[in-house]
Symmetry: C2
Subunit: 320 residues, 2 copies
């Protein structure tokens, strides 16, 4: 039987998710300011930049400068995202990031075709090549991942059996290369999951691969991010990607595809109220969320930064 | 064993929750426009106004005019809210509302003191007087309710045992007066509930009163409204208050206390994606949410009105 975990691990993706999608230019110094503030909150892993084509994602053109600008804090892991070997080489060249390889499959042929001009199988072949490159450089490979695991705007619902099979292929690539993955992440890339879908998918995967740990990457496109995270907690999932203040999309821009990740501080509050440890100082995290709002210059979706914490209310009652 | 219900019943409170809190004046005709649009969506019960002191809630000063202005639709129940006998008499005098009595207890002495200048026991006594008044006029009494059932900004966490006792007193008042309640509603008036708290509270109440049906009134002050609704569904709760577009508070005004109810269209999408019937046409409901945003003149929190429905995406794939 699964049970709600006593502690969860959060991968904070706000800086990467947020700054790659904001329309207005954001000064490098302000990105660095936010990342340095986040490093004081107790969050243990920050994904701070992506190494992608600056013509396609101008907001990430300064990725190298951001990495060079931060003041790394002991005990905090700083990572970047890349989608191909070129991005990987750029990340490596910074010499300041924690390099962690990932084996990523996509659950939708049409999505992969549109985004990376590859089929599911070609994507898996490309991963094999990347794994060899990682190994040749002694870059540890920690994570498996399935993109669009719950559904795809081009292809529709994704059958559970397909994801079970893909995870099998990811584990096979790991095994072929003597790699032991820490966990496999299921990404609801386009906001198709419901809490019931989360339970069915993770349940089937837990049955098929009982020794694997799971993570959830949840987008809030249809307002179900936090309910999906709760469903994950009930399935014993203890790793979540999240984005400060819900960074990563402006829900007020009418851009549905751009809706951000589940909001970190709302997730942390939910966990703390249920007795689940996160290691995060929620009041400090809220200050970071307000800073993020100031930096992007428009309201961001998170609720707790407005509603405030219950712990603060409880403390004020005791001292009254 | 409880199980997820096959169908839920939604009490739409958007017009009442929303228009009583908006700062700017909203023309009566536009309130009527929204209510008439909502009556076309399949929602079966609309709470459209509150009868409260117009000096304290100027946005509801036109409550009688709103009620007079709507075009009632067959099969839709239109209700109003009142907090005391004076409000009840005003509602009655409109002769156009479905008059339904409620027996309401408050779970926090300090909250009741501040809001109605009464203790918990005085509130119960006042309910006894209202019940006699309802009975003398043949107004059916359908609902019990507990305000601040999960916690209170003035008093803190509310013990489960206190709510169990209060529900017992509500049922006793009903019994004394030969009244059979349809259900008892648990209100998270100030946004204190977590999904775990929902499960523990409803579980304890279901054990104590196995023949009672339950409803949840959930505010989204800390972003957990939809997760709390999902926890309710898992406990078999089949009645939810909700507010179109999350009306009922402007999360961008910095007014934490004002955060609205769980968003109706987000709740409906979650239910439909899990195979739970609501009787609601979600696309039409989204049009109403956009209308509400147009009427209040600022962004409202609901996500689905931006993200769009998955059913529409699925249909477009089939026709492609």
């Amino acid at each position: 039987m699964t049970q709600i975990p006593a502690r969860i691990f959060i991968l904070e993706e706000g800086p990467r998710e947020g700054f790659q999608i904001e329309k207005g230019p954001i000064p490098t110094a302000r990105k660095v300011e936010l990342i340095d503030a986040l490093s004081q909150t107790g969050l243990q892993q920050l994904q701070i930049v992506s190494f992608v084509d600056p013509r396609r994602v101008p907001g990430m053109a300064d990725a190298e400068d951001v990495v060079a600008g931060i003041t790394p804090r002991e005990g905090v892991v700083y990572t970047g995202l890349w989608l191909n070997e070129r991005g990987f080489e750029r990340a490596l060249a910074t010499r300041r990031l924690d390099m962690r390889g990932t084996i990523v499959a996509g659950a939708s042929d049409l999505f992969l075709k549109r985004n990376q001009n590859r089929s599911i199988d070609e994507q898996l072949e490309a991963q094999r090549a990347l794994v060899r490159r990682y190994k040749s450089l002694n870059v540890p490979i920690r994570r498996g991942g399935v993109m669009a695991a719950f559904g795809c705007n081009y292809e529709g619902d994704v059958p559970i059996a397909r994801v079970v099979k893909l995870v099998g292929e990811i584990l096979a690539i790991a095994h072929e290369n003597d790699v032991s993955l820490d966990y496999v992440s299921l990404a609801d890339t386009m906001g198709w999951a419901s809490p019931l879908a989360i339970k069915r998918m993770t349940g089937a995967l837990q049955d098929a691969y009982p020794n694997v740990e799971w993570a959830l990457h949840l987008h809030d496109t249809r307002g179900l991010g936090i309910a999906n995270a709760y469903a994950g907690l009930e399935m014993g999932v203890s790793r979540y990607d999240a984005a400060l203040a819900g960074l990563g999309g402006c829900p007020f821009a009418g851009n549905a595809g751009a809706a951000g990740n589940v909001c970190t501080e709302d997730l942390v509050l939910m966990c703390h109220e249920m007795g689940i440890e996160t290691g995060v100082d929620l009041e400090q995290l809220i200050e970071c969320a307000k800073l993020a709002e100031d930096i992007v210059g428009h309201p961001l979706p998170g609720a707790v930064k407005i509603g405030g914490t219950l712990q603060r209310l409880r403390a004020s009652m005791k001292s009254a």
